[in-house]
């Protein structure tokens, strides 16, 4: 195991400049997450959870402070490198599944694989991962709008996993699902963590956060 943390924030501040004035979404956040951890980030709305997740997800960069993902400072990266980081190091699972509506379930999972490997999947990896999250080859031929919410989230998890990311980010992964389906999804995520994958999950549901080994509470952009 790598001794250095896979995610490390040092005094990270994010300020949004709005016409009505500056909004401080993150105010000097420092934390580190080791490889293999399952961390839940909790806090009321507007506490900066999503901003924090977007920072770790390399969708955005800090206004000040240092943010290291897998040893690299993303604050010094341009759009091209950030995009590569999202492709290779991070798997993003959204509340609203966010599958590409034009592609079938299989193609949705294969898409990041093609972006990374510059070739179609011939190794059977896509089918293997889909089977692992419980989507059989019949279902994988359907486009997202023909699938149930739970099935869509399973496909989204498969998509997030296809490039073997170091970090899985989950933004309210069960927020759009009923309790039973949500529990199935959480079982899958928990299983992934047991296999050693780093999971960072934003949620406001304490029951869901209970799956995590550590909970970080955010209040007004600060770690409480």
């Amino acid at each position: 195991m790598n001794s250095s943390p896979v995610v490390e924030l040092a005094d990270v501040t994010k300020v949004y400049h709005l016409p009505s004035g500056d909004v401080v979404a993150l105010d000097g956040v420092s934390l580190s997450i080791e490889e293999g951890e399952f961390v839940a980030i909790m806090g009321p709305s507007g506490s900066g959870k999503s901003t924090l997740l977007n920072q770790i997800g390399s969708l955005d960069v800090p206004s000040s402070g240092d943010l290291f993902i897998d040893g690299k400072n993303i604050g010094e990266m341009g759009d091209r490198n950030l995009t590569e980081m999202r492709l290779n190091t991070i798997g993003y699972i959204f509340q609203k599944f966010n599958l590409i509506p034009l592609l079938t379930a299989f193609e949705n999972v294969e898409y990041p694989y093609i972006l990374k490997h510059r070739k179609k999947d011939e190794s059977g990896r896509v089918n293997h991962i889909l089977a692992m999250v419980g989507i059989d080859s019949d279902l994988s031929r359907h486009i997202p709008s023909e699938l149930s919410g739970g099935q869509q989230q399973r496909v989204a998890i498969a998509r997030a996993l296809v490039n073997e990311p170091k970090i899985l980010l989950c933004d309210e992964p069960t927020g759009n699902l009923d309790t039973k389906t949500g529990r199935h999804i959480m079982d899958i995520l928990y299983g992934l963590n047991s296999e050693g994958r780093t999971l960072i999950m934003v949620t406001h549901d304490p029951a869901i956060a209970g799956y995590a080994s550590r909970t970080i509470n955010l209040v007004d952009g600060r770690v409480a």
Partner: protein
């Protein structure tokens, strides 16, 4: 390539998803391509058919007396060999023949306009007199035969139509009030030749030299000398030599070269073609606006999708190419359909405007199809540039938040 492939797939599926909208946008391109291609083909066919018509006499150099106007009407019987004459003298003709004989055929023409009478119909016509040995080489008959006796003539088709002539008809030449008239017999009818610089035979009576000088006098005072060149490239050599011989001290003859006239006519036609095509091009501009609109709609509708693509690792330029592909596909589909339609529409336009589709499949005419296709496609891609650029520059977080 494979990466292009998946991005390309996304573009195709997006078009398929919004099929009607895409078809309507492509329709604009179709119309623009058809307009440009068929206008271009019309111009090309006009130019080709006019050039063909004119080039039948492009090999003819026309020598007329300098000043005084070459259009006939020379008073006969003035005599004298002065330089102010408005005819070409026998000596001058001999000079010309000596120079030009080795480059082609030289013949002199007498020309006069006079009153004629056929039965009770009166009118005026141009009468040409020339060496009867030249007839078979110069003219084509639709009916009858070339004159064998001195009082037989051949006549142009328009005169035939106007005066109801046929082979065997008698024409009285000359005004009975002014003097004796001569009666000639029609033995042959000419094929239509159109406007030309050497001999306008469509409205004329053509007879032998002897017949002409018998009626009008003025033997050895030619109105015009034509040189039919064997090789067009000799035009300048012959012109220079004649100028050198006859116009050294002062101008006595004018040499007209028909190729210059053809140049100016084709020049005018191509200017006109470009103008008409520019008007047709406006329809492509309208199409460009509609493509732009469709692409902007496509971007706006897919903001969230763009956010997803970006958030899972799609580079900006890949998003950009996705939208450029989309507009390129619309452009290519529009251009291909436009090409097929323009072959039909172009054919009809050419048939209606030029009257003949003889040159429709000539390269100079068909080249307008790929030309219009290229313009249509390029315009389509150009109008997709901004939408594609704006799509690729969306902030992924903002885009993900969109509904």
């Amino acid at each position: 390539m494979i990466i292009k492939d998946i991005i390309f797939q996304l573009s195709i599926r997006s078009i398929r998803l919004h099929f009607l909208r895409s078809v309507l946008a492509a329709l604009g391109i179709v119309i623009g391509v058809v307009a440009i291609a068929s206008m271009g083909m019309m111009g090309a066919n006009m130019t080709l058919s006019v050039t063909e018509e004119l080039s039948s006499m492009a090999d003819t150099l026309v020598v007329t007396a300098y000043s005084g106007g070459g259009g006939g009407g020379g008073m006969p019987g003035m005599g004298g060999g002065g330089d102010d004459d408005d005819y070409i003298s026998k000596d001058e003709f001999d000079d010309i023949e000596r120079i030009a004989a080795k480059y082609g055929t030289v013949y002199a023409i007498y020309q006069e306009s006079d009153t004629i009478e056929v039965g009770d119909k009166k009118g005026r016509a141009t009468m040409y007199g020339l060496d009867e040995d030249m007839f078979p080489g110069l003219f084509t008959l639709t009916e009858g035969a070339f004159p064998r006796s001195t009082n037989s003539v051949i006549v142009g088709p328009m005169l035939v139509e106007r005066l109801d002539l046929k082979v065997g008809s008698k024409i009285e030449i000359g005004d009975p009030d002014e003097g004796p008239t001569t009666t000639v017999r029609v033995v042959g009818i000419l094929e239509e030749r159109g406007m030309s610089q050497d001999i306008n035979s469509d409205m004329a009576i053509i007879g032998a030299e002897k017949l002409f000088t018998g009626i009008f006098g003025g033997e050895g005072e030619y109105d015009q000398v034509n040189i039919v060149l064997n090789d067009l490239d000799d035009t300048e050599t012959v012109t220079e030599q004649i100028e050198d011989k006859l116009n050294r001290k002062e101008d006595t003859v004018t040499i007209q070269d028909s190729s210059r006239m053809i140049e100016s006519i084709t020049g005018t036609l191509s200017t006109m073609t470009i103008f008409v095509m520019a008007i047709a091009g406006i329809s492509l501009l309208v199409a460009a606006v509609s493509i732009f609109n469709v692409m902007m709609m496509s971007v706006t509708e897919r903001i969230r999708e763009i956010g997803i693509l970006r958030s899972i690792g799609t580079q900006k330029n890949e998003v950009r190419s996705m939208f450029l592909y989309e507009s390129a596909i619309l452009g290519v589909i529009g251009a291909v359909i436009g090409a097929v339609v323009s072959l039909t529409v172009g054919w009809l336009v050419v048939l209606a405007m030029v009257g003949s589709t003889e040159y429709f499949f000539a390269p100079a005419s068909l080249v307008y199809v790929p030309f219009a296709m290229a313009i249509g496609t390029v315009i389509c891609i150009l109008s997709g540039l901004y939408p594609a650029w704006s799509a690729s520059n969306l902030d992924p977080i903002e885009a993900l938040r969109a509904e």
